[in-house]
């Protein structure tokens, strides 16, 4: 089970940092940093730079994202910002605007 779950009705204004999985279904405006996986659910609206081991986006993210492993933007998901990750996928039906840096 995920370490932190931000439900759909919740809004956080500020920074979230930790060393466990983070799942967001609500709103975040600030910064998100973890050493584990990040999941941005379909109802989420995130205005924040995100750093994690991996990132899956099904909702809306505006900010730069950095993942040590991979970034996946699901169908219906939207990312406006730069991606820095070893691997990434942008699904059919996903929306993305930004730069990608696959550091080697």
């Amino acid at each position: 089970m995920a370490g932190t779950v931000i439900g759909e009705g919740l809004t956080i204004e500020g920074d979230i940092s930790g060393d466990e999985e983070i799942v967001i279904h609500g709103n975040l405006r600030g910064r998100l940093t973890t050493s584990d996986a990040v999941t941005v659910g379909g109802t989420a609206v995130v205005g924040a730079d995100i750093t994690g081991a991996s990132l899956s986006v099904a909702g809306q993210v505006t900010g730069d994202v950095t993942a040590s492993e991979r970034v996946d933007i699901q169908a219906g998901g939207k990312l406006v910002g730069d991606i820095k990750a070893a691997r990434f996928t942008i699904a059919d039906g996903a929306s993305f605007k930004g730069n990608v840096d696959m550091e080697l």
Partner: protein, 235 residues
């Protein structure tokens, strides 16, 4: 969908958390929490900021005010430095709290049942007034005395006016209601005043009773040009 959130034990939120649903805090929050649902601060939870919700259940450490619309319960192991306000407050043995604890002004409303000691406490309340502002207790506690006095005054003139209606003088005089405010009013007024803590108590209204003025004199209306008829006493 169940709107419940969890801030995990390994997570720190630096900022405010607000919204609908319930929240369990097992990690750390440096900011205010304001949700419509219940809040649980687990034993590992640490909050530096105020917490507002429906029912708050605290087993961790909180530096900030706690406000629960339903209840605030401190479990064994809780450490709270801040003010606590809720209709129901429980502090279990083993929980430590420092600050002002208030169950929403109910002490005045609940004063009714024990009637024996009431005159003492009714007299005490106004004396308590200097302490109240410091405690943040609702000001209405000090008001009931002037209201009780004000309520008694308008009640008096009413019965004398009734008799002018002719048919009901006996009933008006015998009507016990206007008289009653004398004794129990000082007791009832505080509870009535304090019972709805949200509303501003404005004691001015009852003073608007105006029927003190005597009814306007009945003046016979004469048509224009009518001269007074002088009665001829003798022909």
């Amino acid at each position: 969908m169940a709107e419940s959130s969890v801030i995990g034990a390994g997570t720190v939120v630096s900022g405010h958390v607000r919204g609908d649903g319930s929240l369990e805090i097992l990690g750390r929050v440096e900011g205010d929490v304001n949700v419509t649902g219940n809040v649980i601060v687990g034993a590992s939870g640490r909050v530096r900021g105020s917490v507002s919700g429906a029912e708050l259940s605290i087993a961790g450490h909180v530096q900030g005010d706690l406000r629960g619309t339903l209840a605030v319960l401190l479990e064994n192991g809780a450490r709270v430095a801040g003010d606590i306000s809720s209709p129901r407050v429980g502090i279990a043995p083993g929980a430590l709290a420092r600050g002002h604890v208030q169950t929403d002004g109910e002490p005045a409303a609940a004063a009714r049942p024990a009637s024996a000691a009431r005159p003492a406490s009714a007299g005490v309340r106004p004396a308590d007034a200097p302490r109240d502002p410091r405690r943040g207790a609702p000001a209405p506690a000090a008001r009931p005395s002037p209201v009780a006095a004000a309520r008694v005054a308008p009640a008096r003139p009413n019965p004398p006016i009734q008799p002018s209606v002719a048919k009901v003088p006996a009933r008006a005089e015998a009507r016990p209601e206007p008289r009653k405010p004398d004794a129990p009013k000082p007791v009832a007024a505080p509870s009535a005043a304090v019972a709805p803590p949200e509303t501003e108590f404005v004691p001015v209204r009852p003073l608007k009773v105006e029927p003190r003025r005597p009814p306007p004199p009945v003046v016979p209306v004469l048509g224009k040009g009518v001269k007074a008829k002088k009665k001829k006493l003798h022909d």
